[in-house]
Structures are given as structure tokens and as C-alpha cells.
Symmetry: C2
Subunit: 191 residues, 2 copies
């Protein structure tokens, strides 16, 4: 049974607010792909918009340009090897979902490939065409049109990281296949 | 004695690759400011470039537009209250450095205010003027022209997070003053 539940769009930014490494999924209807991306961020709460760096030489970029859509899936510590692997090879000649035995489902709004196994959250995004920044900085902007998260670790619009769900915590890439995991929540004391 | 050592510019992206919350510092020569920003990312290795969301209504944005420069300081767990505090008030009417008793130093290349106390790294950035993305997405691009990091936690171009330096680990904002800290490094196993 899936633990994923819809996330209200006004809370979508929280899924990547803390800077985890993500997976970018894409399809042009015939071919499909998944890659890892450490460089992404929200840029607006409402409408929920994000920016993500997708190198112009990647197969993902080609599919995103064709379809005008992409998925963002947020991998957990359980998916660290998969995340590094799909970030280290191209999908031009091989279907990485088959190669790594990951069965995506079609996103409810846009039909982008969505990975729930090993992930804690996902978003379906519509590309906002920005030719200049796509060209100059490989920076693609997108609007989130659907989102969901694993209710064991994201509840009522908030992450609930604790020792009981540590396998579902995000990973943050340092470089070269080294990641850090987030630990428990620490609250600031207002001054 | 400062533990900060220069970071080679080709390694600058690693300072924020894992998505920590950062402080943005700025000055127009007369006034100065510091704010917190959860939304930033590298966009290029060489030349080292980053993108950061700075709301157009903030005092920081005004100072950055005037000076064409800004600083990025990477706060540690020791600076969690300060980080939240400077992200929750404006610097228009008060000098936040004075208010929170933080004495910045002038960056070596651009003279932007640099905070080392409570931080693990910093970068001096030159704004790359992009009026459209600044206006449409509050997204500012910058080129890193100088960088440094605390050698107790960043060495030879790599973060060295472990239990011995946990006070120097980064914080990642979830929202509402709740942060997560990164824990130890986990290496992916190549497939």
C-alpha cells in the first residue's frame, strides 16, 4: 500500500526547502529518463515554482524541451546508490528505469514518470520557457502542478523527521558520491 | 585565530552543493545588511556561479542592486538562532549586525560584509545582471570571486563532517524556524 498522500500546492516548496538532492524524471511519450540533480531550489510559494539546473547536453534536457514537463522525486537514504548511479550515466542509449529495475508510475496531472519506491516526495512540473537562462546557466524554471509525499515523514504540510523514520530522510550530495543525511529537527529560539 | 582558509574557486560550488540555508550580506558603502536565505544553488562549476532568491521587497535586494555585489555566508548549528532572527526582521531601520552583536569583516575582493563567527564558509559574489529573472522570479545570479571555509570542517576541497566537528555542521531550513542538521557522510556504492 502506498504511503503517499497529496500535498497542497501551497506547501510544495517545503518538499525541497532544505536543499536535498533530487531525481529529475522526463518522457517525450516514447522514451523516458531519470537523472540526479543536486542543484535545485524553490523560487516562489504561490504559484509554486522551482528552479533546477539541467545541463544542456543531457538526455533529460532534450526530453524536457520536447515535452515541456518534468518530474522531481526526492530520494531517501534508502535510494542513495540508485541516486548516484542515475546521476553517473546517460539515458540516451539505455532505459535507466529498466536498468536499475525501478518501475515508475505516471503522474496524475502531466503523466511524467514518478518514482515512489525509495523516495519521500514528488512533484509534477510544467516547464516555464526561459530560453536565456536555460542557455546561459542551464537553469530551468518550472511550475509545480501536483505534489505528494510519504505520510510517514511528511504530515500536515510539515516534515516530521525523527529517529523512527530515518530511512525516509533525505540525502544531500557533497560531490563525488558522498552524501550527508539530515538528522533530527532543531527549532530556533526567537530572539 | 581564524580557522578560515581560502577555497579554490573551482571548489566553490561545494560550499553550498548540499543545500544549506545561507546568510546573504550586502552593503552600499554606507548601510549594510544580513538576511537568511533557504533558496540558493550553484549553477556552474567554472566560472563558479550561483543563483539565489532575494525578494524584491527586501532591503538586501536594494543594497545588492546598488552595489552589484553580495556575500554568502554559510551558518553552522551554532548560529541557528541568529540565522532565524536575521531572516525574520528587516534591516531597513536597524543595523542587524549591531542588533545581534555580530562584527563582520570586509571581504578581500569586493569588501562585502563577511561573517566568520558561527559560520563555516563564505563567498564573495558579483551580481550578474539579469533583470528579467530578478523581476519575474526574484532569482539573482552571481559569480563567486573569492571563497573561504573553516579548515576544521572543509579541507582539501571537501567537507569533512564527523562527530568531532558537529557544531560546525550546516543547518537546512524546513520552514517556520525549524531546521535540520546534516549528520555524517554516507558514500554511495557504485553499481
Amino acid at each position: 500500500m502506498s504511503h503517499f498522500r497529496p500535498v497542497a500546492l501551497e506547501h510544495a516548496s517545503r518538499l525541497i526547502n532544505h536543499g536535498p538532492t533530487v531525481l529529475v524524471t522526463s518522457t517525450d511519450g516514447k522514451r523516458r529518463n531519470v537523472m540526479a540533480a543536486a542543484w535545485s531550489m524553490p523560487v516562489e510559494f504561490t504559484p509554486p515554482r522551482i528552479a533546477i539546473v539541467i545541463d544542456k547536453h543531457t538526455f533529460t534536457r532534450e526530453l524536457v524541451a520536447k515535452s515541456g514537463t518534468f518530474g522531481i522525486c526526492v530520494p531517501t537514504a534508502a535510494a542513495i546508490d540508485f541516486t548516484y548511479a542515475v546521476g553517473s550515466c546517460t539515458g540516451k542509449d539505455v532505459d535507466k528505469f529498466e536498468r536499475f529495475a525501478i518501475a515508475p508510475v505516471a503522474g496524475p496531472r502531466l503523466g511524467v514518470p514518478i518514482i515512489e519506491r525509495g523516495c519521500a516526495a514528488w512533484m509534477e512540473c510544467r516547464l516555464i520557457s526561459e530560453p536565456h537562462t536555460e542557455d546561459a546557466y542551464d537553469t530551468c524554471f518550472g511550475e509545480v502542478v501536483a505534489a505528494a509525499a510519504d505520510s510517514r515523514v511528511f504530515h500536515n504540510g510539515h516534515w516530521t523527521f525523527d529517529a523512527s523514520n530515518s530511512d525516509l530522510h533525505m540525502i544531500h550530495h557533497l560531490g563525488g558520491g558522498n552524501f550527508v543525511r539530515v538528522s533530527g529537527i532543531v527549532a530556533a529560539n526567537p530572539r
